[in-house]
């Protein structure tokens, strides 16, 4: 009998009504036929060769073991490094990516238009010669900086960056502005350090957790976070999750779900902060670690006196013990309240200003914006307070969707610090990494003076908090406006800018106008299809790779990745490709000095120098006790596979800001706020730099305060079985069959809205932005009870969007959304992260 999707299955009703008679009849015995026992096949279980690899089906590098039999990968398993080890469903299906018949099997040279997908086969010689020629010319012409390297899922990890630095380009651009940069920058602003994956919440020891805008089960990072979170769930961790969609991956069983309007997390968090301040939930012991005693001029929002000459920087406070103005380190009992006259100006401690701005907020207005009831905001504050310090507000790592995200993330840090949750067991803890030695060859430091992103930071108002590295969307903008200069080459080594950057036609226009595009990739992608020359580097299973340690895990780990099988399907080792290019571009001397050893000896020298850095140089990040458990020699480590230790006792986390304090009142922001007012008086988004809490609405809401019947705000999540738009998952038949069962490639709207539009489950719909009615995407609709009524939800990375890439993918869904293909470049103020979801979409049935 068919299961029914909604509610309890019909079958159980039938059962209930016929139960008595049935159980009586079931007493009737039936004879059992005689089944002959199966012979257990000679399984050779436990006797396959196991090769340590770091899984790269997504970007997290979870330690795994590849089981190899007769030279073929037959299984990937997690490497049991420590108690939080694990791999996910994508990893389990890696063999399907490895042996995919859709892989690129020869070098290709474009014959049609960019993005059309027409290529001809070429020999390795021809392709590498052409690539070398183009690079060499740019270098010889004195324009190496016009080459942009986009490296991420690279088959020549670490060495590729060095080559291009040596080559002479400062434009080695990462993707953080389309991913984690908001979280990174907010951490840096308040804590003085941090990036993606710096923190883990202590799920297994917490008594309560608040998770806003993140889904620990969704994209799943199983090694570390996933397993840590799983342990928390096994401890019955009470949770409140705030999400436009009920996040079943985190919360199928019991978590309190607060549906929220997209982009309004700031309003919700301000509401929680309002109650935290109003009800005096602040942990007084934490205050001395913050800079909330700094005296601030309420008119300028600047600290009255900030001494940047001393290290750490110091600032003026009012010492209630001596009733005088002193620098903070000299104060016995600094004031956190009150007003004081200093040189004719009325000044207040930062705490007082912050308190006033939060307590003065009207929770009803906040509630109206985010659609979460005031009572829930208060109850969350109460729960955090009751459970403190064994509580956390999840920091997570990816929150780059709306203009307001940075401000919301600041609230997260503020809550964690002021409630005393930071650096405690059961609260928010620091992840630990191992620091390796460098490469066996010392490369010269690159000249950053011509860095595009640096120029943009120095010259463009809106880039007041942007990164000099995490800025691929910024590069796209530069291609289009030519400022400071137009790049001439995109070198793609494992980034998919077209699928992953919110910019639609702006991105594809940039890709069409750059002089040349080179791609090294085993798989097709929305970006690779725009390349002029493609060479198939191999996957992680087919080559040795350097050690890696930047895991989202409380326990330090050394990730080991070795070649499990020879390169298949015509691909080549990425380091071989790099050396071949280097040979054609560098001078003979340069090549011999920097790359000859790599070519001749492979990865071993790299491993040796990395390992020496851990064992000999004294700043590995490991304690002596932990070091003593490390395999003693390099060969021992290579034999052992990935290595980890045990969980250590959490220690308090010192801030690394210039003042040495948690800058809950960020001086960096205060200075930026001031600078913007002085330098760019026409800049409209100055308020985003305010060091005080401010209510801000996402851009979509300012454009469309009231949604029409056929208008929706998009929200996306990740599926646990896909990896951005990567073909290794999107075009993987093992995974696609499960995608289909879960409707991952569909779009979801609330049933009530569907009824009003006359739409039903399974309808094919068209979706577009009002501003760009010619750019329509198609998707199959699902009707749902677990989506906020304003929202059109889709999982990111499985939809065709507007590109032709799926023509090269036999299993990938031939419709479905990619939000990044809508609209034009759209940045958030300051960090300049992209804002893919900060738009309004219209929907209509196709057939």
């Amino acid at each position: 009998m068919k299961r029914e999707e909604k509610g309890i299955s019909r079958r159980s009703f039938l059962k209930a009504s016929s139960a008595a008679g049935i159980t009586a009849l079931s007493a009737i015995p039936s004879s059992q036929a005689h089944a002959a026992p199966l012979r257990v096949p000679g399984a050779e279980y436990g006797r396959e060769k196991k090769v340590p690899v770091m899984c790269q089906m997504c970007a997290q590098f979870c330690p795994a073991n590849a089981c190899v039999k007769d030279g073929k990968v037959i299984r990937l398993e997690p490497s049991p490094v420590h108690e939080y080890s694990g791999t996910c469903g994508r990893s389990r299906a890696a063999a399907a990516a490895l042996y995919s018949t859709d892989r690129i099997t020869t070098p290709l040279i474009r014959t049609g238009e960019r993005g059309e997908g027409k290529f001809r086969q070429a020999s390795w010689e021809e392709a590498l010669d052409l690539i070398g020629q183009k690079l060499k010319k740019l270098r010889d012409d004195g324009e190496p900086e016009k080459v942009i390297l986009f490296s991420r899922f690279s088959s020549a990890m670490v060495w590729d960056l060095k080559f291009f630095e040596l080559f002479g380009t400062p434009n080695i651009v990462s993707y953080g502005d389309t991913c984690f940069e908001v979280v990174g920058r907010s951490s840096q602003t308040i804590l003085g350090f941090g990036s993606a994956g710096t923190h883990s919440s202590d799920y297994e020891n917490a008594d309560y957790g608040l998770i806003v805008g993140k889904n620990l089960g969704g994209a799943i990072i199983p090694h570390g976070w996933g397993a840590q979170f799983g342990k928390g769930l096994r401890h019955g961790l009470p949770l409140t999750v705030v999400d436009p969609r009920h996040p079943n991956e985190m919360a199928q069983s019991y978590a309190e779900w607060l549906p929220i309007r997209p982009g309004t997390d700031l309003s919700f968090l301000l509401g929680v902060l309002h109650f935290v301040f109003r009800k005096e939930y602040i942990n007084k012991d934490v205050l001395p670690k913050t800079n909330l005693d700094a005296l601030i001029d309420p008119k300028t929002l600047l600290p009255v006196h900030l001494d940047k000459a001393v290290k750490p920087n110091d600032y003026l406070v009012f010492d209630t013990a001596t009733q005088s103005f002193v620098m903070s380190r000299a104060a016995a009992a600094p004031a956190y309240e009150g007003s004081y006259e200093y040189n004719g100006v009325t000044v207040q401690p930062a705490m007082a200003l912050m308190k006033k701005s939060l307590v003065d907020l009207d929770p009803q207005k906040l509630s109206a914006t985010c659609t979460i009831p005031v009572s829930r905001m208060e109850s969350v504050a109460d729960k955090l307070h009751a459970a403190a310090p064994k509580a956390f507000v999840e920091i997570g790592y990816r929150w780059t969707r709306h203009t307001t995200d940075f401000r919301a993330q600041i609230c997260v840090h503020t809550l964690n610090i002021l409630l005393g949750l930071y650096g405690h067991e059961g609260g928010v803890l620091l992840n630990r990494n191992v620091h390796f030695g460098g490469l066996p060859v010392e490369f010269p430091k690159p000249d950053m003076s011509k860095s595009i992103l640096k120029w943009k930071i120095d010259n463009q108002a809106e880039r007041w908090l942007a990164s000099a590295v995490e800025g691929r969307a910024g590069i796209i903008q530069t291609v289009l406006d030519g400022k400071p200069y137009k790049p001439k080459m995109f070198f793609l080594w494992g980034q998919d800018i077209v699928a992953g950057t919110a910019g639609g036609k702006d991105v594809t226009d940039a890709f069409k106008s750059v002089e040349s595009i080179i791609a090294v990739s085993p798989f097709w992608s929305d970006s690779v299809i725009y390349a002029d020359i493609i060479v198939p580097g191999c996957t992680f299973l087919e080559q040795d790779q350097p050690f890696f340690s930047y895991y989202k895990s409380l326990i330090p780990v050394i990730g080991v990745s070795r070649k499990a099988v020879e390169p298949v399907m015509g691909s080549r080792d990425g380091y071989w490709i790099l050396c071949q290019i280097a040979k054609r571009v560098l001078t003979g001397d340069e090549y011999n000095r920097y790359f000859l050893q790599l070519e001749k000896e492979g990865m071993r020298p790299t491993w040796e120098s990395q390992f020496a850095g851990v064992t000999e140089h004294g700043n590995s990040g490991l304690t002596p006790e932990e070091l003593s458990t490390l395999p003693r020699t390099l060969d021992d480590l290579l034999e052992h596979g990935s290595w980890g230790t045990r969980r250590s006792v959490p220690s308090p986390i010192p801030p690394k800001t210039a003042t040495g304090k948690f800058e809950v009142y960020s001086f960096e922001l205060a200075l930026k706020f001031d600078m913007l007012g002085a330098t760019y008086p026409d800049y409209a988004d100055r308020i985003f730099a305010s060091p005080l809490p401010v209510i801000l609405e996402p851009r979509w809401m300012l454009q469309k305060p009231k949604l029409g019947d056929d208008e929706f705000v998009p929200a996306t999540g990740f599926t646990p079985l896909s990896s951005f738009a990567g073909a290794q998952a999107r075009d993987n038949p093992i995974l696609v069959a499960l995608h289909h069962r879960m409707r991952y490639a569909n779009v979801f709207i609330n049933e009530e809205r569907a009824l009003r539009l006359g739409l039903i489950e399974g309808d094919l719909v068209e979706i577009w932005m009002q501003e760009h009615p010619d750019e329509k995407q198609q998707a199959v609709l699902s009707v749902s009870q677990i989506i906020h009524p304003d929202v059109l939800f889709s999982y990111h990375g499985l939809g065709k969007g507007l590109q032709k890439t799926t023509e090269k993918m036999q299993y990938a869904r031939k419709n479905g959304l990619n939000l990044n293909h809508f609209g034009r470049l759209r940045f958030s103020p300051g960090v300049c992260g992209h804002t893919p979801q900060d738009i309004v979409l219209k929907i209509r049935k196709v057939s």
Binding site: M1, K2, S30, S31, Q32, A33, H34, A35, A36
Partner: protein
């Protein structure tokens, strides 16, 4: 039309042909269906595997290592299923013209009630069965007694049910799972009905007292007129009334009620 017929047509050629073919179909249906209904009849399944076993078991031609008991039974069951479905096809093909012709003459079916309906008439009919089969007396009945009529209607319903459910089971994927599972139940229920009723039918058909009817079905379809007049008085009267058959002077009934 014969004015003074020696015999009266009891069963037409179509009816006889159909009945006698169905008899054979039933045999095949039953022996190929029983091992799928219950593992108590697995021995029949193994029987069907004899040729396969010969080639693959004792004298391995198909299988180098010989067959396990399970593989033997499995092969036999698959043979049985094929025979069951071929029989089903033949049965359906044969049934269609029969049903069409019968339906054309539906008003003159002899299995409708006689002049009276209702519980009282039913009770009278059942009492008549007792008189006939236990007391060996004569009863005033039409062509069929109430038992035979009920048997016929039951058979019509059961055979229809088994055919429709069989069709579902043969083309399973075209139907929802609920329909599939219900069809298995109906198929079994109608088979049990048919099976039990068939035992009764066979017994009564072979009884010496019913010999003339047996000959009617298996020979030329005719019953002696005298026999009809004495054993199926109502039928005889209807025939003479309708068809103007001149009754011979009534001979003394051998056995009077």
């Amino acid at each position: 039309m014969n004015e003074h017929p020696e015999t009266i047509v009891a069963f037409t050629q179509l009816q006889r042909s159909y009945h006698n073919h169905v008899l054979h179909y039933m045999i095949f249906f039953i022996i190929t269906g029983l091992p799928l209904l219950s593992t108590s009849f697995s021995f029949i399944g193994s029987f069907f595997a004899i040729p396969y076993d010969f080639l693959g078991g004792a004298y391995p031609v198909l299988s180098a290592s010989g067959l396990t008991d399970n593989e033997r039974l499995s092969a036999g069951l698959q043979v049985a299923r094929v025979i069951h479905r071929i029989t089903a096809l033949l049965f359906v093909v044969h049934t269609i013209p029969f049903v069409v012709v019968q339906l054309i003459h539906v008003r003159s079916w002899a299995i409708w009630p006689e002049d009276s309906w209702g519980p009282a008439a039913l009770f009278r009919g059942i009492k008549g069965l007792w008189v006939n089969y236990v007391c060996f007396g004569h009863v005033r009945i039409g062509k069929f007694n109430v038992g035979q009529k009920l048997f016929a209607w039951t058979m019509i319903l059961a055979v229809t049910a088994i055919t429709l459910s069989g069709f579902v089971l043969m083309f399973r994927d075209q139907f929802s799972e609920g329909v599939q599972e219900f069809s298995r139940f109906v198929h079994a229920a109608s088979f049990v009905t048919i099976g039990v009723f068939l035992i009764v039918h066979l017994y009564l058909a072979l009884l010496p007292m019913n010999r003339p009817s047996l000959y009617a079905m298996f020979r030329d379809g005719g019953l002696p007129t005298d026999y009809v007049r004495s054993h199926h008085a109502l039928w005889y009267e209807n025939l003479t009334r309708k068809k103007g058959i001149d009754p011979k002077p009534a001979e003394k009934a051998e056995h009077s009620v």
